[in-house]
């Protein structure tokens, strides 16, 4: 059995999808997405989406890393097994600073990567969009707008027509097979 996922329209240039995305947003659609071979400059604003939340994960990672480093050195060289080395104090914020610094960066980098994965809901190896016969071209040189049937304004007849009026080519209904 098949269920419908959404209707797709392809575009040939960054300019075409940029203009079309503005019109789709003005029409009031909510559940839709642009598929592009490159990050199109300014498309976020055209689609009406805000800034990415990845920096929050980076910051959280960085803070965790810094305190992990501090705790590590304090526990090992001050609390658990103090040793006098080179007449230096058991613990200080100065001498082990390179360790804090590196762990801040390490954890922040992990926060960034996993934050990106989390926000993009990756890994997700299966998605209805992959059923589109020429989905592969969106990684090459084609651009695509997909409006999902979940959208409150979606209409079986009107939405494909609307995509045609904004310049979309080869309008296709994407179906997901359910076993």
């Amino acid at each position: 059995m098949d269920i419908k996922y959404g209707v797709a329209a392809t575009f040939n240039s960054a300019k075409d999808i940029y203009d079309a995305a503005g019109k789709v947003r003005e029409e009031g659609f909510k559940n839709w997405e642009c598929y592009t071979p490159i990050p199109v400059h300014g498309l976020d604003a055209q689609m009406g989406v805000g800034r990415s939340k990845v920096p929050c994960f980076t910051l959280a990672g960085g803070i965790t890393g810094f305190f992990t480093g501090t705790l590590l050195v304090w526990f090992m060289n001050y609390y658990d097994y103090p040793l006098i080395v080179g007449g230096k104090p058991y613990f200080s914020m100065i001498y082990p600073f390179p360790v804090f610094y590196e762990l801040t960066i390490l954890f922040a980098a992990f926060g960034t990567l996993f934050g990106m994965f989390f926000l993009n809901r990756l890994p997700q190896h299966n998605h209805p969009i992959f059923e589109h016969p020429s989905f592969g071209r969106t990684g090459d040189d084609k651009y695509m707008i997909v409006i999902e049937i979940e959208d409150p304004k979606f209409d079986d007849e009107e939405t494909p027509e609307f995509l045609k009026t904004v310049g979309g080519k080869s309008i296709t209904m994407i179906r997901e097979s359910i076993e």
Binding site: E33, T36, Y81, N120, I129
Partner: protein, 473 residues
């Protein structure tokens, strides 16, 4: 949002333009011959999708042969003891530290290209950054071999990490060598993360083009289900920018901390504050040398002349010229401070460096690092690709000798003349180092065969067709 874009020429009146008569600025495109997106995809994917070329097999077999020298050297070292290397009193570091710093330094250009040039919005970086990042990762792997085996009993190398061991003693963090463990392992990890994350969209392209089952699985798993969706790109671009921002202080800190290995010791010739910036400049210098050594043959083999243009090579030559001059400045400044500081040991260390027992190494270093890059002032030399390639090899040789000079001249002339010595490598040292070039080549050849050589989406982004305003921006 209005997409009305005005050109400068539309605003300024034509009479005024005639009077001012501005010079014509010709923007050289980053991708030549008006190639389109599809051409880029075919070109880059074609490299991994084509039948394995014969030259690849020959190179791979040769690289395996060379790498076996490292294998032999290490097996002999582990089974016999670290004494099979030439290290002995007073030169206890020898080639191990020289090779470690050499390989780590090479890695730095990759991070400079991927991170610092990204923050500086240098668009020409796009076609060379993937290969350079790969070079970084592989160079750090080669670097890691030396300290790992220099610890003597390599099976205890994990004591370097903050893990509980049978003696209940923790690593002690007052030592720059311990800082180095953190700096280098963080550098390696973050370089891999950055390299891999940048590759995800390209792996998805390869996945969607894959015909064979193993390719579908291989690229499918690595691509994580990437969908080219704008939402994905939005988070990806932000993450990429942040990783660039994190890698920049990281790369500067790594060679700074490597230089602390020397600078924190109270030895003449090492105990100087100029070491961190001088080491970082030297690292970038040697790394760009290696980038040119690797990319110029690739450009010829895969016919990438439209992607790695003369402008790219010209820019890299300029960076080599700039960092080479910084290194030359640091060499002279060291001498000045040794004289100005009026410390007799420091003064001796530097006179000894240039005219003492390792004078030959010092002058090889100066000719390769200070004189050679100055040739890049001339356009005719920068445009002569074979000559650029030869100079890039001289840069690599010179930077290896720089580390040799720094480490050995100081150690071989101790404070007491009774403790003086002369260090020579043994055949095991030479085998182990020689083999790392094979090990590096194996990894690089595998990278060429299985992973996208250039970030396709980024290359496409700097082409005119990527502009949503139709070129009127």
């Amino acid at each position: 949002m209005s997409s009305k874009v005005t050109d400068q020429a539309d605003v300024i009146s034509p009479e005024l333009m005639k009077k001012v008569n501005p010079a014509k600025w010709e923007e050289v495109p980053l991708v030549l011959n008006k190639r389109n997106f599809h051409w880029v995809t075919e070109k880059i994917c074609g490299i991994v999708e084509q039948k394995t070329p014969t030259w690849w097999w020959w190179c791979f077999i040769t690289a395996m042969g060379i790498a076996s020298f490292t294998g032999l050297g290490l097996v002999y070292l582990v089974s016999t003891g670290v004494g099979v290397w030439g290290n002995s009193n007073p030169v206890n570091w020898g080639w191990a530290i020289v090779n470690f710093v050499f390989w780590i330094g090479i890695g730095h250009a990759g991070t400079l290209i991927s991170a610092i040039l990204c923050l500086l919005k240098q668009k020409w970086r796009t076609s060379i950054n993937r290969a350079s990042e790969a070079m970084t990762v592989f160079a750090v792997m080669c670097a890691g071999i030396f300290p790992l085996f220099h610890v003597g009993r390599v099976w205890f190398a994990w004591w370097l990490f903050p893990l509980p061991n049978a003696n209940a003693i923790w690593p002690q963090f007052r030592s720059p060598l311990e800082w180095d463990v953190f700096a280098v392992s963080t550098y390696f990890t973050v370089s891999i993360l950055f390299w891999y994350m940048g590759m995800i969209p390209d792996l998805a392209v390869l996945r969607d083009r894959a015909k064979e089952t193993w390719r579908k699985y291989f690229y499918g798993v690595l691509a994580m289900g990437w969908r080219n969706a704008n939402n994905h790109w939005r988070n990806f671009e932000m993450a990429y920018l942040l990783l660039a921002g994190l890698s920049t202080p990281l790369v500067l800190s790594v060679h700074t901390i490597v230089s602390f290995d020397f600078a924190v010791a109270n030895l003449p010739g090492w105990h100087t504050t100029i070491f961190p910036p001088y080491f970082v400049a030297g690292a970038i210098f040697s790394g760009f040398g290696m980038v040119l050594t690797l990319l110029l043959p690739l450009r010829a083999i895969f016919r990438l002349h439209d992607l790695i243009t003369e402008k790219h090579i010209d820019n890299m030559c300029k960076i080599i010229l700039a960092t080479g001059s910084m290194v030359g400045y640091a060499y002279s400044m060291e001498f000045f401070i040794a004289w100005y500081g009026a410390n007799s040991y420091e003064g001796f260390a530097f006179i000894n460096r240039a005219f003492g027992n390792y004078w030959w190494a010092y002058w090889i270093m100066v000719s390769c690092n200070v004189i050679c890059p100055q040739l890049f002032w001339f356009k005719s030399i920068k445009n002569n690709i074979p000559l650029v390639w030869i100079i890039s090899i001289f840069v690599n040789v010179g930077m290896w000798f720089e580390r040799f000079v720094i480490a050995n001249t100081t150690l071989s002339r101790d404070f007491l003349p009774s403790s003086w010595g002369y260090y020579s490598p043994t055949v095991v040292d030479i085998f182990t180092f020689f083999g790392t070039f094979g090990f590096f080549s194996i990894l690089f050849l595998l990278f060429l065969r299985f992973l996208p050589l250039m970030p396709m989406a980024e290359v496409k982004s700097v082409m005119p067709a990527a502009d949503p305003h139709g070129g009127k921006h």
